[in-house]
Symmetry: C2
């Protein structure tokens, strides 16, 4: 599935206590492998033998329904780590959108190392927490947002990768196709196009070719996307607690909106 430049080298024998291992260090010990655009790194249902760290390029992560519908559950960018939180088998297929360079590490051994190294353990949790946060965000998007809000959110999500401090207009590439965007956002290709057109007509966005995007008013776009503000659209942390935090240990919770009384 992936072309290996050479045999793997292993710098972490046995289970000795490693002082300050991190994912960066652990994966850094492994050879770079290559995967060409359109080819898969692994398939949904495969035994999840390895975890992967992306070095360069873009992966689409997807599942296929029995009748052929495709759901893209995420994209993997450089620096992302895949496969830490799986059961025995991969939950999705990972396919290269562009040519990809990545490194692999045996999943079980990675967790064995983590048992001996608090740094690595913490690093793994950080990655998994990120995955879960992304999944939550996506559930909100898919369940509650309109087509245009989804597209706006998607653009902002990608803008975030290029750094927040960047001057307006914020520009970046979208290497994936419109079909990828549609399958990720739970829309059709046409609806994605229409939404992009509206955002362009509103002067919030412009494009150069099909994959280069400019955001001319991130703040307004954020409001449009159902987010409070561009800066808050993503970590460090979205927004402060909704109501004041209750610290009283005795029976202080408020009934929520639409509180349930049975």
């Amino acid at each position: 599935m992936v072309y290996s430049a050479s045999a793997s080298v292993d710098h972490f024998p046995g289970a000795s206590h490693q002082a300050k291992l991190t994912l960066e260090i652990v994966f850094g010990s492994r050879v770079l492998e290559f995967c060409h655009a359109g080819h898969s790194v692994f398939w949904e249902g495969d035994v999840a033998s390895d975890a992967f760290m992306i070095g360069e390029g873009l992966l689409r992560l997807y599942r296929i329904l029995p009748d052929g519908r495709r759901a893209i559950t995420g994209f993997a960018f450089p620096g992302d780590v895949l496969g830490l939180a799986f059961h025995d088998r991969y939950l999705y297929t990972a396919e290269a959108v562009t040519d990809v360079r990545l490194r692999r590490f045996p999943r079980r051994r990675l967790h064995a190392l983590a048992t001996d190294c608090p740094y690595l353990h913490h690093d793994i949790l950080r990655v998994i927490a990120g995955e879960l946060e992304a999944a939550q965000e996506q559930m909100v998007l898919l369940g509650q947002k309109s087509a245009e809000e989804r597209v706006a959110s998607f653009l902002l999500m990608n803008a975030r990768r290029v750094g927040k401090g960047q001057a307006v207009p914020i520009s970046f590439d979208l290497p994936m196709t419109r079909l990828d965007m549609a399958d990720y956002l739970g829309l059709t290709i046409e609806t994605v196009c229409r939404a992009v057109t509206k955002l362009k007509q509103a002067g919030l966005v412009s494009m150069e070719g099909r994959h280069k995007v400019f955001l001319h008013n991130p703040a307004e776009l954020s409001r449009f996307a159902g987010l409070d503000d561009f800066e808050l659209a993503h970590p460090p942390w979205p927004k402060p607690a909704l109501p004041p935090v209750e610290t009283d240990p005795i029976e202080t919770g408020e009934p929520g909106r639409g509180g349930f009384h049975q």
Copy 2:
């Protein structure tokens, strides 16, 4: 936010190597706390100090968008553990649908214990992998499935909790309201009602009151839900690998559907 029956007792001092700790054991050392229906265990944005294991009852887990829309990202049932994979703050509000009994354990200390105990470490990963799998499943549901498919999937998801081997008709309770179901499935109350009505008219489902469900033809319902079969609808594992697994280390990946050539 939660009523504590008494002060907590701690059976796990220091960082000594504990041979066979599990989540069950660790949480079992803590007192039962209570949270009444309609009240919250914690709020989105709170500092995530504790993890929780549900003893009895049902929680709804949700986030609120700036304009007031509510997205339920999941429900927590007895035996479920919450809060293992968070960053510093809770990603969602956890609110009791029914009266709930649960136990808490400091999150950081839980992970510290896991560093010394492979059993516990494995147990934590198992839980997190389950969370992520549920999130993936939900993303597919919200992004790709029709209203009726979503409701059918939801019923099957709940049916699974009562055990697979049960005789037809499979019966179980749905303690949550229609609004909860709607906010979980990305629909309105009315659409949920319409879908339930259609399933009843098709003879696949019947109800007794609003919260008791009977599934008369789980296999057919599964097909209807966009799943292969009821038994395969959920773990042990959904379905076999899509194509035969590739083991050749040299450049063997097949271009996927809609392969991208740039």
